[in-house]
Amino acid sequence: MQRQIEGSQAIAQTVAMCRPGVVCAYPISPQTHIIEALGAMVKKGELEHCEYINVDSEMAAMSVAIGASAVGARAFTATSSQGLLYMIEAVYNAAGLGLPVVMTLANRAIGAPINIWNDHTDAMAVRDSGWVQLFAETNQEAVDLHILAFALAEELSVPVMVCVDGFILTHSIERVDMPEPEQVDQLVPPFEPRQVLDPDDPVSIGAMVGPEAFTEVRYLAQVRMHRALEVIPELAERNAEVLGRPATGLLHPYRIEDADVVVVAMGSVLGTIKDVADDLREEGVRVGVLGISCFRPFPVEQVREALAGAQRIVVVEKAFSIGYGGILSTDIAMAFTGQTVPIHTVVAGLGGRPVWAASLRKLFVEAHEGRLADTVYCDLNTGLVEAEIERMALRRRSGPPAENVLRDLATQTGRA
């Protein structure tokens, strides 16, 4: 049914249709609306056989999910940013134990400086944890990916994280074709765990493993993740059949076939990028777009195939590795080992900075003309940066950089 609905509400209602047994909640912006909505559904009795636990921290949230999953209950939680970092030990643990927890990550920047707005730094911090990481471009995709996430997690016994851009998606009201409960029941069968704590058939879960078998246990996690690259397209196809609309799998290419420049990105920024690509094509610049829906496991083969005809690749990223550069770009470059296709990194949208079509357009044209630098920080206010660099050179006690930059910004904009 077509609904005009906030992203968080759509996600919460979809999660409810997936019939979780345990939902654990600890508030952090911009994830709050999702857990609030689920709490209300449990309290009203709309979501039956579900325990809603208000926990004392994100570490507890993931830990409760681990315990619930280990006894065979479908477990869900949601977090963002600092919350993800606070639970990171348990995030790795859920993956290491092979427990199919599903978590929504409402993507948000990591402090300091503290910032509640959107970028992808939080997701990147756990990219090596053993969780499947799916990125939604729209709220429709967020809904569909949550259905896929539960089915995938339980099929492979791996935890799955659905990444949705904080505020941009979570707080946006847009049209979403909401699934019917019967459709979701068809797509997410009852949870049949591969391992379960059963007093009548006792097992030890979480035993210590030494050097003699640690590599093998880790390798098996890699095997499960690779298997996800086969299972995700199958599940996406089934989603498409049952839901009657195109469903998201590993990648979504857009006008890529004859493109000279292909722009690669993840999440909601793809919408703007596609608009820019359309505009440039009207002017004869052949730009295509490749959206990465599945970031972990990284679909190397599929990416290589999709980008086979590209003369030049521009990766737009909402995060970067401080001291190095693009993170997704590095993965793309690895897929192109031995080839000479130039790969550029555009770091954009950090801490909620709008990614303007005009800014992207300028960069894509530069790329097309072979003038784009290897790594570009989109819309960087160079005046602010230079002033602080100069200050640091002049004085040992130059002060807190964030405060200095804000003061300079006020001067720059005439608000001092």
Partner: protein, 338 residues
């Protein structure tokens, strides 16, 4: 070779020792009952004289009895987890889950919630950890579990330090005790005299249904407290003193003696509380001065001279005052000391 003057005897016939498997069935102690769960079975890698292995075995077997075997145990990282599990020799014969150091109580909450969601109200949950996992790194999570009154019995095996990592100080390390991070050097050797972290009383402040303490010197008392705890629903806390020969610098054969002395000196009060109020305490039968407890442990060796006489009278008096405070608070001396 057995000396002719030493008659060959069945092992500890008539005692309550763990063995007794050589005597007739009807003469065997409760500990060698073939019906016993043996939740933590033999073959694990605990040190000789480990108080925690003994405490855990008794606590979990009692919990298994009380729940007719319908039990799931969650373990924090620590000695108990490490010595019991290296693959493929798990010593756990019960459904057992280890996640992390800081989160045993939260994981147990999840286990209880997951079982409830599936209508398995018959299965009960125990969480367990050492004093570091309880009073330090897992403290916030435990307080959260208490505050929500989740249906979990949390058992703390308190040996007064991080013994698994090589005997470092925890917030449960007694004042003046030597550890690898509170060395017996300088003007104030050993651990500082702080306010301590009195876990049972902190648990009581949450007004949870049941809080109790026990030692491995009185296993019947320990078992009965576990069984009693399982008659309650909601959050329960059992704090068990478990001497650690490695960390305390004591003889393996002194584990039970030290646990008993901890009680009889008043250093470790043994009591029960319901909904925040003390309901009973185990009286001291032979009141003993604290130095009798201290001098058996190398971690307090700097308080004594070579002849075993008190060298640092001020510190010993300070420790005695702490014990006296416990005796007064829990009315541990109801009769004249014998």
């Amino acid at each position: 070779m057995v000396s002719e003057r030493t008659p060959v005897r069945f092992y500890q016939v008539g005692s309550f020792a763990v063995g007794n498997r050589l005597v007739a069935l009807d003469q065997r102690s409760a500990q060698s009952d073939p019906e016993r769960a043996n939740s933590l079975t033999s073959g694990h890698r605990a040190c000789a004289g480990c108080g925690e292995a003994l405490g855990a075995r008794y606590a979990l077997d009692a919990a298994m009895r009380a729940t007719h075997g319908q039990l799931v145990a969650v373990n924090a990282t620590g000695c108990l987890e490490v010595f019991s599990t290296p693959y493929p020799e798990t010593s756990w014969r019960i459904a057992w889950l280890h996640s992390l150091f800081a989160n045993a109580s939260s994981v147990a909450t999840g286990v209880a919630a997951g079982l409830r969601a599936q209508g398995r109200s018959d299965v009960r949950v125990v969480a367990q950890g050492g004093d570091g996992g309880t009073a330090d790194i897992g403290f916030g999570a435990l307080s959260g579990m208490f505050e929500r009154n989740d249906d979990v019995l949390y058992i703390c095996y308190d040996n007064g330090g991080y013994m698994n990592t090589g005997v470092q100080r925890s917030s449960a390390t007694p004042p003046a005790a030597r550890t690898a991070t509170t060395q017996a050097v300088g003007p104030h050797p050993g651990n500082v005299f702080g306010q301590g972290k009195d876990m049972p009383r902190i648990a009581m402040a949450h007004e949870i249904p049941y809080v109790a303490t026990a030692t491995v010197a009185d296993l019947f008392d320990l078992e009965s407290k576990v069984e009693k705890a399982m008659t309650f629903h909601g959050a329960r806390f059992l704090h068990i003193l478990v001497p650690c020969p490695l960390g305390w610098g004591s003889l393996s054969s002194d584990t039970i003696r030290l646990a008993r002395l901890a009680h009889e000196t008043g250093i470790f009060p043994v009591f029960e509380a319901e909904h925040g109020e003390v309901t009973s305490s185990l009286p001291i039968r032979r009141h003993t001065p604290v130095e009798e407890y201290l001098k058996l442990q190398k971690r307090f060796a700097h308080l004594f001279d070579k002849n075993g006489e008190v060298k640092d009278a001020e510190t010993v008096a300070h420790l005695q005052a702490l014990a006296n405070r416990n005796i007064e608070r829990y009315a541990l001396l109801t009769e004249e000391p014998s």
